[in-house]
Every structure is written in C-alpha cells, then in structure tokens.
Symmetry: D2
C-alpha cells in the first residue's frame, strides 16, 4: 500500500464541503445505485469507500482542478469565451465529463457506466448541485460531474471488493 | 468526406439483425434518450443518425469483434476460463463495456454519459437483448453493450448537429 | 456536414499563437510521425488536417480550457495547492493528459497511441514548448499536451482518410 | 487489500508464456522506459510491479480475451470478415488498442502515455512479438498491445509508488 497524503485528501474534502457537498451526500448516491446488487450494503460501507476513492492522488487532482474552474467562473475570472461557456454550463461543453473520467477510469468499466447513469439520471446530491448551478450565480459545471464520478468510483470499488477484505 | 465502405456497413447491419436487433430498434433507444431535449425529434432522424454511426470503420470493427465473441461463446468455442466468463456474463467482466468504448469515444463525452445511462437503465431493445442473454442458451454479453453504444453515439451525433445540416 | 463556427476556430488558433505555437509547427509533428507510412505525404496535407481537427467544437473547448489554466498559473491566479501543482508541472499531475484525451479520443485508437508517443518522445514543437515551460516563468503544463493531441489527431485523420477524399 | 485469485493470475501468466512472452520480458520494457526517471530502479522491482499488475481481475480478463482472439485467428476459427482483419493486423483495426486500454486506464494517465510510446516505438519484446506476428502464421494482433499495456501499467505503478511502500 502506498503512503496516503492525508493533508491533500483533507483539502479535497474541504473543497467539496465549500461547494455544499459532504462525503455523506456522495455515499448516499453510491448506496442508491448499489443497494439492489448487495442486500447487506450499509451507508457506513459506502462512506468508507468514498473516503478510499479520495485517497488517490489522481482523484484529488481532478477535484482541485474542476472546483477551481467553477470558482473562477463564479468570480468572472476566466478568459472569454471560456467564461461564458463554463458559467452557462453550455450543452456541448464536455470538458467537465472528460475531467471526471480521470476519476472513473482508474476504477474500471463498472465505474464508467455508473458515472454515465448517475450523471444523466442526476441521482441524489448530483441533481441538487446541478439545480443550484442553474438557479443562481453559483457555477457547478464541474462540481456535479466530479461528485457523480466519486460516487460511481466508490460503487465500482464495492463491486470489485464485495465478499473480500477491502 | 471519406468514401464509405457500404459493403462492410451492410455486414455490420446483417450481423446485428442475426442477433435479433434492427436499426429501427436501436433508433428507438436514441429517440427515447433524446426526445426531451429536442421537441421536434423524429424516429426517421434517429434512424438516419444510427446509419451514419454504422458508416464508421471503427464502429464496424467493434460490431464484428463483439458479436464474434458472443457467437463463439454460444458454440462453446472459446478457451477456458474465457468461455465460462463470457457465456455467464460474469459481473466483474468489463471487456464488453471497454469494447463498446471504441464506439462511443469517437462521439465525445455526450456519447459516453448516454452509453452509461442506456447500459445501466437497460432502455428499450438493450433490456430485451440483455434478458434474452440471461434466459436461454444465447450469449448477449457483448451484443447488448454494442447496441447501447450505437444508440448513445447516434444521440451524441444528434446533439452535436442539432439545428445544423447533418 | 455540420456548420463550422469559424469564429471559435480562429479564437483557438489565436490562443495557440499567443503561446508561441503555429499550425505549421503542429503540422510538422504530424508530418514527422506519419511520413514513414505514406510516401507522398506533404506538409500542406498535414496542415489541412490540423485545421480540420481545430474545426471540432470539442477540440476548441479543450484548447480554451487548457490554455486558460496555463495562463492563470502564470498570473498566480489559481487557488492552492493547484497553483503550485500546475506551475511546477508536477510529475504525478495527470489532468493535462486527461484533458488532451478529449481531443484524441474522438479520432479513435490511432490518435491515442500517436498521442502517447508524441507526448513522451517530445517530437518537434512539443519538446520546445515543454522546455520553455521548464526554463522560465511561463507555464506550459497543458499547452504541450494539447498540441501533442492535435498533432496526433491530425495523424489519425490522415490514416483514416488516406487514398480517400478528405 | 482484496483477495487475489492466484489461480486466475497464473492462468494469465501461462497464456503469455504460451505466446513466447515471460514476465521478465515485460519487466525489461518497464525498466527501459522508467530507468531515466529513477536512478536506482532495478529489474527485480520492475518484475514485482508487472506481477502486481497481473493480480488485477480487469487485467486478467483482457489477457484472456485478447489472446483467445489471436489464437482463434491462427486456427482460422473467426468468422469473416473479422478473420482476415485480425490475422493480417489491418492498419485501421483498432480494437486491439481499445482492449489494451482496459489495462492502462486503471493506472491513470501515466499508463496511457507510456502505452502509446511503447506501442509505437515497439520497445523490447513488443517489437519482437510484433515481428513474429508479421513473419509467419502466428497472429500477434492483440498480444503485442497487451504486453505493451502491462509494461506501461507497471511503469505507472512505479511512478505512483516511488519512494513509498508499494
């Protein structure tokens, strides 16, 4: 097992909290998409897996980058035409999903299909955050995809470790 | 515009038909996942886009490869342990989804999230084919992912060309 | 054929020029990695294909996003710890390559392997830009990967259209 | 840590050996592409990382599937037109690289660029296997990409764990 940079992990968790997203919120999405497959799945186990996902350097880097872009858009600090594209979450803009792939790819194809589902069906907190981004001055273009990706990655982690020590 | 190998395209269409899947079936999935975004979307336009997706060499190659694997599994001609893994559509086997990425990747991130959704929600013919694979001796491990990918790719094509000449 | 937003394409070209990269420079990379496969390959044809790659909305969006991140890093305007990670082009930071995948993925697997090669072997302008990013206050963390991706995408376009009208 | 299915791992190693590829051969590729970054890199450490890569279920499944396709092509048992496409390793056929992505994706973007490099530069055993596939009746269309992917994944593993307990 590699050493874990707890400091960077905490920064990522704090950043998510500053956007109104708790690890509990993300774990709930994981629970909703996995409960039909594992009868004895608990919220605690989902939360544990969300935390493990956030230990990964690649995941932390995507969180840092995506949330920085949303925050800069809120402060009108991105250059044009990117500022308008990101702030309005333009339909054809797909860089947010591409960035999220940096999280799900490392959890294999189960992560990928779960991400597509959560992103489109807007499960739990993903739908709430998406709505906040549409209703007021906040920009959630990257944030909603990132939390969808973390939830999907945790789901994939559970599928791969089920019945095994995780 | 590149020349299109109509012969190879027809082979791919014939192969899908031999698995019980018509282009109309796939177009219906595209229609179902796109109708909420485009008020005047027609089945004809979805069908046209499914056909355009099947013009691509990469797409044809994935169809040839995936369906060959399903057919070989039905004939018990794959070596072990692959034979059992593919025929039972083992939960952790993800090569079917990876192969399908060869189709959706070339249609950008909209294709990817739509694929994840269709694959997991088992929309239309995708659900029917998945069920057939579970109920009898037929093996649909790759077939269901491939048609989900074609439908998602057509949806992405529509999103990118909407209001424009396609 | 979809309408092309010439305005956005020109913005992307201007942005690349502002980083010291001409389309000619990128076409040269494409030429270097493809000349062994096509005896009659010309620089003009490579340049034409680089231009076609830059017509795509997905490609323009990656250019806008990646170069914005490099410019913001140069102006010390990214939040920490992202500012230090991006400005130093930290070895384990892979978001630059992930973003570049948004360009190469839509050109199939030939684009992907060519991207890996150009990125690692630092062919032509990619090596020069990488060096500039290391030597002075300029930040080229995203820029070098983006031009590697455009060159690789053009190479894939040539491979797929060779002997056919492009 | 998840339980490791040593049986499946050994099957994958045996399959590679049946194609003329030892873990030592793959570790050598990893060594060649990583030695410039880590002064004290040893062949033993590369071999250890190659073995760890082969512990993963996703990796084993790609090995089983890809090598089965090469073997079936050698026995003329694939349906047409796939038989000719795979046996001749047709230039535009990219399913072999896509399958290999199932290995490298789970090791992040460092794995991806290394894979592109090894695949195109044909480092060590990758070049030898590619040559064997071209010279006689053996088909190495998938085998060469799979070993390139394993070597690249091991390289990424080393980069991520360097200076840390692995």
């Amino acid at each position: 097992m590699a050493w874990v940079d707890l400091n960077q992990q905490q920064k990522a968790i704090d950043l998510l909290a500053s956007r109104g997203v708790s690890l509990q919120d993300i774990a709930e999405v994981t629970f909703l998409i996995q409960k039909d497959y594992f009868a004895d799945l608990t919220m605690d186990f989902c939360l544990h897996n969300v935390q493990k996902v956030l230990e990964k350097t690649e995941v932390q880097h995507v969180v840092f980058t995506g949330i920085a872009l949303d925050e800069l858009a809120e402060k009108q600090m991105l250059p044009q035409p990117l500022q308008d594209i990101v702030h309005s979450d333009m339909g054809l803009y797909g860089v947010d999903e591409i960035l999220a792939l940096g999280i799900v790819n490392i959890y294999g194809s189960i992560g990928l299909t779960n991400f597509g589902y959560v992103d489109k069906a807007k499960v739990g907190i993903v739908g709430k955050i998406d709505q906040i981004g549409k209703e007021n001055d906040q920009c959630m273009t990257f944030t909603d995809d990132i939390i969808a990706a973390i939830a999907a990655a945790a789901a994939s982690r559970i599928a791969h470790n089920n019945g095994k020590r995780s």
